[in-house]
Symmetry: C2
Subunit: 322 residues, 2 copies
DNA sequence: CTGAAAGCGCTTACAG
DNA sequence: CTGAAAGCGCTTACAG
């Protein structure tokens, strides 16, 4: 069949097989109770004609799409890959397909993408992002089951929520640095998103003389000045990206990691194992979190209540912390 | 409105506004020639009821989805992010939405995802992958416009094709190393995909004594042995990921980059700027390639012929090459 | 400017 | 086991 020809429908198959379209529909869906002869003729005809079901029609009439929409902050974030894989495995096991959409870190765009998924007609949405507001989530939750993976400023009760325990993760990072004998520990952040804030608050509560640096401003230079001056011997970075950055910039300044500066990151992304020294970091059980998000979303689709889960992070030690 | 209540349809809006559903449809689509009064009443009623169009119905009847499907090898590849952004910008400018799907490097899965996008009813597909066979592409091209970005083993005439000039990229990399005085240059690869093969063939044709190493086997160790023995002074890696890997492993062995070993990668991904030394690498004009792919796909949708474009890569010099 | 009718390609009862 | 009818929620001509 060529693209210019009209796409064959169930009616064409019915005509070719000499049966009614109801029977074609039943046979195609693999329904029991279709005569062996008919089934065979129908399948052969469908194959012959290059028949493909029309998804729009099918979904319109069945009222369900068997589709889970996944919304990502952006495509660049290595952190979310494993989560999405976890979502997909669980979704596929349940007979659902997954489609992705992403927003490039821009809340307006992200909100538009969310509505886009809803308008498309997905059965449920899993938002792997901390960049949606309670309003956005509330509005979405009024239309379909939505589960958040991450840490937005606030998640309404109507939405499900899976996140890792940032406070515990920060505790693990700092306990590790303390154990290694570090007293003068700095905190490096690139935003003030809730996950970062939670890690920072824990940092503040556990470190005697907290010193915080913003990677966006001239913060990194100041941090390295402090290291050179002997005022800082270790840094807890809010994520691996920043940890890699500080390791690189320290190297550019002739400072040695971990000799002059111990570094601990967060997320255990691929990057942590690819730079040198490797990054000591905090790992979140990402595939499992993705799987749980899916399970929850599908349970909500069947009428279950939204739930919240806090996953337990763990410390992964590599060379950057000495 | 709550989720349990039936979702309002155009008929509900019509009733609430006291007009026919045709008029509601026209008003909602912003068609000219709807009375100001009616329009206002209709829009108010729709808003009041929390009306949202049913995408399945709309697409079934209009026969088009205004949707471009993008198929990715996997989510992990930093290389493709900019391409996808380029696709999205161009698509949005043309009034199309973009849906992503990905296959985790597994051809079977990738093929299933491709068919999934088609069955979903997207208007066109852009496959940002080199992992589909000519058969898969041929079959897809029979159903809708498809454009490949990347380098599969073979692209049928019915599909559009955008790729970078791997031969030229390899030439740039090797000319750079020669200029820096390197004679004993090795090639490091992780697969034998067509893009890699093209880079390798160019390597073979330009280097006096070609020495190739496979990063999967014990190749990296052998490569570093050769470096330690003074048999190799530079390596051209098939991509940045491998370049970062060899830099890391060299560091683990106490070898210095670029002192003992100069390294050039390919792709100019984020990684190139994040490791130390920074990676000298070959950049592809990725956003532009994505934009071109979209333009081509939409032109094909309007009946245009498939075309092929070869983008010109350029050398980006950082510390890893001395 | 507005409405009634037909139809998109399917599935879902309901007869037989 | 099979078929005819009704309907999913919308848009597209076509009247008026």
């Amino acid at each position: 069949m060529t693209r210019t020809a009209r796409r064959p429908t169930i009616v064409d198959v019915a005509r070719a097989a000499g049966v009614s379209k109801s029977l074609v529909s039943a046979a195609l869906r693999g329904e029991a109770g279709v005569g062996a002869d008919s089934r065979e003729r129908i399948l052969a005809a469908a194959d012959e004609l290059g028949y493909r079901t029309n998804g729009w029609a099918q979904r319109l009439v069945s009222g369900r799409s068997d589709l889970v929409g996944v919304l990502l902050t952006d495509l660049r974030n290595a952190y979310q890959t494993d989560i999405v894989n976890g979502i997909e495995d669980a979704a596929r096991d349940a007979g659902f397909d997954v489609i992705l959409s992403h927003g490039r870190r821009d809340r307006g765009l992200l909100r538009a993408r969310l509505q886009g998924l809803i308008d498309l007609g997905v059965d449920a949405v899993i938002a792997v992002t901390g960049h949606l507001d309670a309003d956005d989530l509330e509005a979405a939750a009024a239309q379909l089951p939505i589960v958040v993976v991450g840490r937005p400023s606030s998640v309404p009760d109507a939405a499900g929520w899976i996140r890792n325990d940032d406070e515990e993760g920060a505790r693990l990072a700092l306990a590790h640095l303390h154990e290694r004998g570090h007293e003068r520990i700095a905190f490096l952040h690139g935003s003030s998103r809730p996950a970062t804030r939670a890690r920072r608050d824990t940092y503040r509560s556990l470190v005697a003389d907290p010193r915080e640096f913003d990677a966006d401003a001239s913060g990194i230079a100041h941090l390295l000045d402090a290291v050179a001056a002997g005022d800082v011997s270790a840094v807890f970075a809010a994520n691996d990206r920043l940890a890699a950055q500080i390791v690189a910039d320290a190297s550019d300044r002739g400072l040695r990691v971990p000799g002059d500066l111990a570094v601990v990151g967060y997320d255990n992304t691929e990057l942590a194992d690819l730079v040198r020294p490797g990054l000591t970091t905090i790992d979140q059980p990402r595939p499992a979190m993705g799987g749980e998000a899916t399970t929850l979303a599908l349970a909500m689709l069947r009428g279950g209540a939204p739930a919240r889960t806090v996953a337990v992070p763990r410390l992964v030690i590599r060379g950057s912390s000495g």
